[in-house]
């Protein structure tokens, strides 16, 4: 099966540089300090943030004195995949995901602002359809913003692949992942253009790396724009009770 048709369209009808539809919402839960829900195509993810609070349990010994201890947990609902999973968390794959999630988010969070405290970030994949890691990073970023945690900039992740040995594809779906093309996942800080995490599976010639990486970073920038819009809209809506954003035609604040 070819990843790209003769007409230049992908298996799900997207163009090579087209993202899946992203829909997201901040503040889905009341009890958490911050929460967000994000849909990227058919991948659906929930993220919550608790803290900064006093270090609990094992973190009490591990928490550094000059910055916050960031604790991440990645779990998947047992019904999230095509085949039912036996455990929602604790398997190797989830543990690896938790570590990678932590790496990407710590590079964006201003941990030095919260010495001697702990920050919990929990993500739950409700439905998996490729790009789980990317959706989790993006949802966690929104949840962190919702919690009011100080950040350098957004941490945004996006994946890319290579079709027909030459054309880079952005935002890989499960079908494209399993068809066996290479998969490059990048978490970046899109404003400064820095790479926070990069992971690659399968092989392609190193000559192609720059353009695949560029496509992934481009995707990160596009997602950043979507997330930023969501944040602005959310703040406008929640602030509306106090009259923000309610400007009439003459430009006078009501």
């Amino acid at each position: 099966m070819d990843l790209l048709s003769d007409q230049g369209l992908r298996l799900d009808g997207r163009r090579p540089d087209e993202l899946r539809n992203i829909r997201c919402k901040m503040g889905v839960f009341n009890q958490a300090d911050g929460s967000a829900y994000l849909e990227q195509g058919n991948t659906k993810v929930l993220a919550t943030v608790y803290g900064p609070h006093q270090p609990r349990g094992q973190a009490r010994n591990r928490a550094p004195h000059d910055e916050a201890f960031v604790n991440c947990q990645y779990s998947m609902a047992v019904f999230s995949t095509g085949e039912r999973k036996n455990r929602p968390r604790g398997d190797r794959k989830s543990q690896e995901m938790s570590i990678h999630l932590r790496q990407a988010l710590v590079s964006a969070i201003r941990t030095e602002l919260y010495p001697r405290s702990q920050l919990d970030i929990f993500v739950e994949v409700l439905q998996a359809d490729g790009g789980n890691y990317c959706a989790c990073v993006n949802a966690a970023t929104l949840a962190l913003v919702d919690a009011g945690v100080g950040m350098r900039e957004y941490a945004v992740a996006c994946s890319a692949s290579l079709a027909n040995g030459e054309i880079p594809l952005v935002d890989i779906s499960h079908l494209e992942e399993s068809t066996g093309g290479p998969n490059l996942t990048v978490a970046s800080l899109p404003i400064s253009g820095q790479v926070a995490l990069m992971e690659m599976s399968q092989r392609f010639h190193s000559d192609h790396l720059p353009k695949v990486l560029e496509r992934a970073l481009e995707g990160c920038k596009d997602i950043h724009r979507i997330l930023d819009d969501t944040v602005r809209k959310h703040v406008e809506e929640t602030g509306r009770a106090s009259g923000w954003g309610q400007v009439d035609r003459a430009g006078i604040v009501l």
């Binding site: 829900y37 604790g90 929990f122 409700l126």
Partner: protein, 299 residues
């Protein structure tokens, strides 16, 4: 007023107890409900596409997502004519940081076991239709419950979501079954929409009755649970039959309170079942309309 001062002195350490106790004087609770009122419930069906059936129930701040998956399995030797049903509860750390890692396992087991016992009788859920070939093959229903936010009254919310998800479950139709030597050859229908639905008429709803002071209330909030003396969970069917009964949490009840509680439980449970059935009918109609809108967590 000497008496009330002594109350004050005695109960002040219970924190919330004080406010809950005094507000009960007017027969109203902290949030303006009467003793047998539920908080607003939201229900949405069919929101996880990878599952055969799914439902999300939001009972004020309690958020439950249930997915039902079907798999083909071998029936147990002592019940060769029946299918299987298994409940798995996952307390997500999203609900509270205490559930991180294995933190929520005790609560999860408690809820799972109680659901299992309330479904155990063929009078509440008949497993015979799930049999494909007697003693050889049957359907197994995995009912996976994900607790996303805890705002009190988990049992009731979970049971509502489970009943709704089972209502939404589509079991694929088996076209032919042939025995080839010792092997079974199953042919599933080629049309993915050729499915049958489960009978949910007798599936019970759980009603939690909580005793605070001298009062018996339903649908306790997390704060009310905190200052309750004892709780009773009753599984009530549509027709008012009690399928199982369980006293949870610490504290004790007088037998007389127990009988009173059962009466209230049946009355509330019948109403709850009726309300759920109506809501399921409305939701089903909405889903069958042209291009129904999916809300999920975006609302």
């Amino acid at each position: 007023m000497v008496k009330s001062t002594s109350y004050l002195f005695f109960f002040i350490s219970f924190g919330n107890f004080l406010s809950v106790y005094f507000i009960f004087q007017n027969d109203l609770r902290n949030d303006g409900r009467s003793k047998q009122d539920y908080r607003p419930i939201e229900l949405e069906l069919d929101i996880v596409t990878h599952a055969n059936g799914s439902a999300r129930v939001r009972l004020a701040n309690t958020d439950i997502l249930v997915g039902v998956k079907t798999e083909i399995d071998v029936p147990t030797s002592n019940r060769p004519e029946e299918g299987k049903i298994e409940f798995f509860v996952d307390c997500s750390a999203n609900a509270t940081p205490e559930f991180e890692g294995k933190g929520g396992q005790d609560l999860a087991t408690e809820i799972g076991n109680y659901l299992g016992s309330s479904f155990a009788s063929p009078l509440s859920f008949d497993l015979k239709p799930l049999c494909i070939l007697k003693g050889v093959q049957c359907w197994k229903l995995y009912v996976d419950i994900l607790i996303l936010e805890c705002g009190g009254n988990l049992f009731d919310a979970v049971s509502l979501a489970v009943k709704a998800a089972l209502y939404n479950t589509m079991v694929p139709r088996v076209e032919t079954v042939a025995m080839d030597g010792g092997n079974v050859d199953l042919q599933l229908s080629g049309d993915p929409f050729d499915c049958w639905r489960l009978d949910i008429t007798n599936i019970p709803c759980l009603v939690t009755l909580t005793k605070i002071g001298e009062h018996l209330i339903v649908d306790p909030t997390a704060e009310e649970e905190e200052c309750s003396m004892a709780s009773l969970v009753v599984a009530v069917t549509e027709s008012g039959r009690i399928n199982s009964l369980c006293k949870t949490s610490v504290g004790s009840l007088h037998p007389q309170t127990l009988t009173d509680a059962l009466k209230v439980g049946v009355e509330v449970g019948v109403g709850l079942n009726k309300a759920l059935n109506e809501a399921l009918g409305r939701e089903e109609k909405r889903l069958q309309s042209n291009k129904p809108e999916r809300f999920g967590f975006l609302k």
